[in-house]
């Protein structure tokens, strides 16, 4: 088992691989504890909002990875299933008699059922093949449903979407979910439950066969499994959990619009999942947490955050196809050999200058943007807590120098890092 985890830094090309590590109950208990304690550590209401957003994205990203990482199917329209789940939940919320007959925590199940139902219909023709054809069909169907949301006003509510009120449900042990914190615990419960169910799904024969079909459909067929049906089951299950995420979104925000199902949100979930790493079960969780944080922090600081996110995404695809989880797991063998301390110094020498160089580059980008697009006469800009005039030469020189020096040092020390890495990864004494 352990040799599957070994990764070679000169070959970052890891095959997408899921479930190659055995998990015990421990991580789940820890996660449950963390979920319980989080609101006591981050007490502000904005933190609660961010965390709700985060857990919803976690469920959605995990559902997406059931397709991409475990089934090898790339979908460009997966937001549709979450969106339809959300719309269905919203309609149930507005059907007051029916809504009052069950407590609110049950509502996401309906979202899941509707998501899975739509996935059953679409999957019946889209899962015939994987790869490019599947990707194109998912894009076409996604566009079709997103575009018809403006036309079919009865279900999608046109451009303003539909809204509802979550408090009309049957009280749940006297709780009416008036406050954000109540919703937080509801979301936390669902994130834990869905993650556990999705993990268990990946252990079932059908989840295992999904991996086999991803890697070699022909061979899987020779073993007697229909590749198409295996893909179909994964697709429907993924649609179910996406629908749950959509239902939670409806509960949290009490409004669902066309934005929940358009191609842009499908693209975001692909970005989140890939950034986190498709090769490991916990990859999308890391991706969702990091992306939500980066999005909230960066979008407050700069207008160009989508540009940075796009660049980061492209760099991940080109250089670290394993994503963040892949990068983390590369270090497991090093720790197993007990040689982690060999890496500290080279990391410090290379990554710190590289980070400074990249920040310098960002400063150049920001200054160029300010220079071109700021209103006339508004020459002052604030960057890294310093305010200066973007139309003078000095700041440009400083930024250029910082960038060049940082990147040159990083490039100089990179071979030493590579050497230290191969030392740390080889058993026996260091030569």
């Amino acid at each position: 088992m352990s040799n599957q985890l070994t990764t070679d830094p000169s070959k970052p090309a890891q095959r997408m691989r899921a479930g190659s590590m055995t998990m015990t109950l421990m991580p789940w208990i820890l996660a449950a504890g963390a979920l319980m304690l989080m609101p006591f550590i981050f007490t502000s209401s904005s933190a609660l909002t961010i965390m709700n957003q985060m857990w919803i994205t976690v469920i959605f990203a995990l559902a997406y990875n059931m397709l991409l990482g475990q089934g090898g199917m790339l979908s460009f329209g997966h937001a549709v299933y979450a969106g339809v789940g959300g719309f269905a939940c919203m309609h149930i919320m507005n059907a007051s008699d029916f809504f009052a007959s069950f407590p609110l925590p049950v509502l996401p199940v309906f979202g899941g059922i509707f998501g899975a139902g739509l996935a059953m219909i679409v999957g019946s023709f889209s899962t015939r093949s994987a790869g490019t054809v599947f990707a194109m069909i998912s894009l076409g169907v996604g566009e079709l449903i997103a575009a018809s949301s403006v036309i079919i006003v009865a279900f999608f509510g046109g451009e303003e979407g539909i809204s509802g009120d979550r408090t009309y449900a049957m009280p749940f042990f006297g709780n009416e979910f008036l406050q954000q914190i109540n919703v937080y615990y509801l979301t936390s419960f669902w994130v834990l439950l869905s993650a556990a169910l999705m993990y268990l799904w990946s252990r079932t024969p059908v989840g295992r066969m999904a991996n086999a079909v991803r890697d070699n459909p022909e061979r899987a067929e020779f073993l007697g499994y229909s590749a198409r049906w295996v893909r179909y089951y994964s697709f429907v299950a993924s649609g179910f959990f996406a629908g749950i995420a959509g239902g939670l979104f409806a509960i949290n925000y009490e409004i669902v619009t066309e934005e929940n199902l358009n191609t842009a949100s499908s693209g975001v979930i692909l970005l989140v999942t890939f950034l986190g790493g498709v090769g490991f079960f916990f990859g999308p969780i890391i991706g969702a947490i990091v992306f939500t944080l980066v999005q909230t922090v960066l979008s407050l600081q700069t207008e160009l955050w989508a540009f940075y996110a796009g660049s980061l995404f492209l760099a991940t695809v080109m250089f670290f196809p394993g994503g963040l989880a892949g990068l983390l797991m590369m270090h497991v063998p090093v720790f197993k050999l007990g040689k982690a301390k060999l890496l500290i110094e080279p990391y410090f020498k290379t990554l710190l200058p590289a980070a400074i160089g990249i920040l310098g580059l960002c400063a150049l980008v920001e200054m160029t943007f300010h220079f071109r697009h700021a209103t006339k006469g508004d020459n002052e800009m604030t960057l890294f807590w310093t305010t200066f005039d973007s139309h003078t030469v000095l700041p440009w020189l400083i930024a250029l120098a910082v960038t060049a020096v940082g990147l040159v040092i990083a490039k100089r020390t990179a071979p030493a890092l590579k050497e230290a890495w191969s030392d740390a990864n080889s058993a026996g004494e260091v030569s």
């Binding site: 090309a13 460009f76 023709f125 490019t132 079709l144 575009a147 279900f155 693209g267 160009l304 071109r372």
Partner: protein, 318 residues
């Protein structure tokens, strides 16, 4: 009757424009098996470059230079980006081009801002060529038709009659054999990718003044182009032509004839229900054809995928 003629011309313009994009896309697909998600982004880059050049040197130089720059950029993307990602498999390749499309859109917004650029039809072509029953046909549309047909003819000639075309066609089907005959297949791939993106650039230059030069232009056309090559059959050049023209005419005719759904239902013998307000199909009854014109290609695609998965002129999947 006259209106039909006008619509035929309009649909032809849209269809041929679509074809210029889908031709390059389908060539690249049949060659490398990778779908270039950023193809429409190169179309957008063509329009923006041409606008920037036209300020200094005029429209015609823009038409000449912008596609060349776009082609070189495309070749660079193939050489330094796609070829690197290729080792990881097809899915990462698709994700790479998807990321590239996102990045190019952000980049365009970064350089030119979010507003539409004042990229206009050149003065020489800004007149009415002729009019059909009171509807004037601008000369620029005729120019667009001629450019696209000319490019299609040229492409067909190069691909089927010249030595280079023969080698490309051979490299499409048997890259290994062609390589062992002494041809540089990676270079051919890079070249075809460059030419394909340059074609998208040309389409961008000539469409920019009519359809508008704005950061969303790639997205507007992009997904329709994918739909086109799926309908035509992945990898089939003739299929791309047929599907482009079909979509061009379908959307144009749906937009200009105001057909209400209720009329169609009434014609086939279903009467309009009395009480519309609480009928769950009320939207279906009030829909008109201009409303659904933009989603007709997607509906067509789903139909094709259900009844003829290989596309109109595609080969059956092996």
């Amino acid at each position: 009757m006259e209106l039909i003629l006008v619509n035929i011309i309009d649909g032809l313009v849209t269809g041929l424009l679509l074809f210029m994009l889908s031709a390059g896309l389908t060539l690249i697909f049949s060659m490398m098996g990778v779908l270039n998600f950023a193809h429409a982004s190169f179309y957008m880059l063509g329009a923006y470059f041409a606008y920037q050049i036209s300020i200094a040197l005029g429209f015609w130089m823009g038409l000449l230079i912008a596609p060349i720059i776009v082609g070189v950029l495309g070749a660079g993307v193939e050489r330094y980006g796609l070829r690197r990602v290729h080792q990881y498999g097809h899915v990462p390749e698709l994700i790479f081009t998807f990321g590239l499309a996102l990045l190019i859109e952000e980049l365009v917004q970064f350089i030119w801002g979010k507003n539409q650029m004042p990229f206009n039809i050149p003065e020489v072509l800004n007149y009415t060529a002729f009019s059909v029953a009171g509807n004037s046909i601008p000369a620029y549309k005729i120019f667009m038709i001629f450019i696209s047909v000319g490019i299609f003819m040229g492409l067909l000639y190069v691909l089927t009659k010249t030595r280079v075309g023969m080698i490309i066609q051979a490299a499409l089907s048997y890259p290994r054999t062609v390589e062992s005959l002494g041809h540089n297949v990676p270079l051919i791939f890079m070249g075809v990718f460059g030419v394909g993106t340059a074609l998208a650039g040309v389409a961008g230059v000539i469409a920019g003044p009519v359809l508008g030069t704005f950061p969303g232009m790639a997205f507007v056309l992009g997904s329709i182009v994918f739909v086109t090559i799926v309908i035509g059959g992945l990898g089939s050049l003739w299929g791309a032509l047929v599907a482009s023209l079909l979509i061009g005419w379908l959307t144009t005719f749906a937009k200009s004839y105001n057909l209400a759904m209720s009329d169609i239902f009434n014609a086939i013998g279903i009467s309009t229900p009395e009480n519309m307000d609480d009928n769950i199909f009320r939207d279906l009854w009030t829909v008109t054809s201009p409303q659904i014109a933009d989603i007709l290609p997607y509906i067509l695609m789903v139909m094709i995928l259900i009844f003829r998965p290989a596309g109109l002129l595609g080969k059956r999947e092996s």
